[in-house]
Symmetry: none
Subunit: 233 residues, 4 copies
DNA sequence: GATGAATGAGGCTTCATTCAT
DNA sequence: GATGAATGAAGCCTCATTCAT
């Protein structure tokens, strides 16, 4: 999924349509391979073979191997920036919006679990210049979450905490699912992990007023679903 | 700091004392280099030079380069297992113990920030067999925290949550300081990050009874320190 | 300047006029690039871009990259064969003709200094078959000079030396200006280099009779120019 | 022949004796291959094989392939700087010394004909920094010749010409033997080429006094040798 | 005739590992 | 036990050449 073209990376090929197509091909192969065997253990030949192109071709679309990594990581991060807004579109209640945003974040992390780990591990392998792009993308995503929290604060549902710092706890929730999957999965499936994780953290955020609202929403949900009552109350 | 010898790694040299000394030498150099330039960009020759030994020597104390990584990461993780018990020794109050444990965790992460990132990034580079050792170490550390939480639950100070899952949120707090340092540092120094982070998360844990106790402890602390009142209440 | 079409090089294109035009385009770009960055550091893509054509096009007018080099070097050598006869046309005095020939040689070398160096450096890079063409061209040029010397000998102005061997000294004069430019230029500009160089070498050639004639010509020239009296007498 | 160690090129190996030996090995192979097939057509693997070492080894003694070229060319140029002083040591007569110097120059060029061509062709392939070293070496050699000429001028044997410019003509004589060998060899063997070449050029240099001296030396030589009377008188 | 995307062979270089001293 | 020179496999990247459009 090549969300937003990383126009910063130059290509020798001029046809924009082709560049987009080829890059998608290359990045799809690269994300897959990098995520599973790591950046350094994956050769450009591997990527080429997986993408069904020649090794030389890759160098018509990226400058070097590191560029492939950059594009791969950006591709993952861009998918966050796509999914979160999509998930909260249409929702108006601040608490619901916030919940939906976190759930969407967790969901996309789950869908691209290995890729998320890749993004985590590989940023340091990039040149400082390229690392900036990654960081910028991460900041953008965080801003989406922070906005939800701030809206909750403004609505009196959340305590008046530093939205940016609070954001990190929820972001960590999503990331940890990928990073600590090996440990968490055995004790809790994705659903329970996310539900309980959110429930736990939101406890730290809700005001008295927020509490009532939260319980009402839970009740509605439980009514509809009649299942998975969270253990923590 | 080579806490507990990773006896699993074989050495050609028999003198245990010498093995310990040489490994400490090698690992100190390796952690430093791996943490700053990454595992793959660091050569064995680099490590040898930094450690003040010959490249050949290293192969008398480890099987291959990956062993050096394993020992390096274990070294970092061991330091967690050392610091946390040391920090809570002597404390009896469950809340105080828990707080001290988390603070110690954060502190050691801060002291070895780059090394913590190394541990995070590199686990996947290890062979599955070696990765088990890392995971085992992490589980041990987590158990230290989980025990504190369980004690709090048993004392009626914390809600009856899944201690293992709750542990993760606090562990993430410590790890995030290293992983997201570039983003967090500018908005909050270590002290504030840790204080507010703990305060935020503990909100999600405290029972009514726990609340009163927590406030009393805070008051005592503030009384002693008369500074840095946390913004979030 | 594509003096005489190197008809030996085959082209896929049949229209002779077009071949001539395209080759001139390609060679002009190639000479420039080869001369400045060397044959091996110049890619066909470079040449194509400079010539304003596609890389594929070049292969419709030459067999391979070496052909481009051959044509480039021939182009340079052909310009010698053009300039020298042009310079002595109209002159009848053997000494004047000789002088004019050498001066013309030096001048064209000066005008295409980098290209001359290219011709020097690159002959060995060509296949033996192609090298023959280069050598043949050089021999032709030398013959032009040798003829002048022989005429001088026949006129009793020059000693009865081996014209072919004597030719080399004067040819070296011209070539050295290009080859040793970096060293000579700082101590002597083109004018002085050529004047003194010719004056020096012609000393070795003149008979008693030639001497008188030479001095008369110099006097006439000095009379006209009233400047730059050569230091060597 | 590794005349003077090119200390400017760094090596990873510390043992100076070994560096000298290995470099000699590598350079001998490289000069040979570069001279015959050209720098770009020769691979490092070729050099390694010819030198009887592994490809990796070479990189313990040079930084990159260009360094091998630099050392190769310097090696050739250094041999000039060795031979010329050796040839004139013991001689006192300025004309004899000059003659001996030129003859030595021609002789060493003849002995390392292909290598001389290499030096000529390859200088431009070097980075500007490395090219400086080559130029410096060439200037040193020229200074040896220029000194001889100046001595001849001071002794009243040679005309008062610019010694540096006159040097070039004689240097060209030596170089041309290598560069134009394919053309000259068929018409004149080395002996005749050098004898006549020197005789020709020295004509341009001698004063009346020098002339007499030169003829006397020639007579002595002819008396001793009773052969090869030069055609030019 | 012209284009330029695609190919893939091949070279330079690095570096984990070995082993003779 | 320690050294460090030597090895050689392997990877990134370039670029001459081709060919479908």
């Amino acid at each position: 999924m090549l969300a937003k073209p990383a126009f910063e990376v130059q290509s020798l090929v001029t046809d924009a349509e082709l560049v987009k197509k080829r890059r998608a091909q290359i990045i799809a192969a690269a994300v897959d391979l990098f995520a599973h065997q790591g950046y350094y253990k994956t050769t450009i030949q591997d990527v080429a073979k997986r993408a069904g192109v020649s090794a030389g071709l890759i160098y018509q679309y990226v400058r070097d191997k590191e560029d492939v990594l950059l594009l791969s990581v950006l591709d993952v991060l861009e998918s966050y920036k796509q999914e979160i807004p999509a998930a909260i579109a249409g929702l108006t209640d601040p608490l619901e919006r916030f919940r939906a945003a976190i759930m969407a974040y967790c969901r996309v992390v789950d869908q691209r679990r290995e890729a998320t780990v890749l993004a985590y591990r590989s940023t340091k392998s990039l040149s400082s210049e390229r690392r900036q792009l990654i960081m910028a993308s991460e900041i953008e995503t965080n801003a989406l979450i922070a906005k939800c929290i701030q809206d909750g604060i403004d609505a009196g549902l959340f305590r008046d905490v530093d939205a940016a710092l609070a954001t990190d706890h929820f972001v960590s929730l999503a990331h940890s699912w990928a990073l600590k999957h090996w440990r968490i999965k055995p004790v809790a499936g994705f659903e329970r992990y996310v539900e309980e994780g959110f429930d736990f953290l939101v406890h730290a955020l809700l005001t008295e007023k927020g509490w009532k609202h939260y319980r009402k929403l839970q009740a509605e949900k439980d009514g509809k679903e009649k299942k998975k009552p969270s253990k923590a109350r």
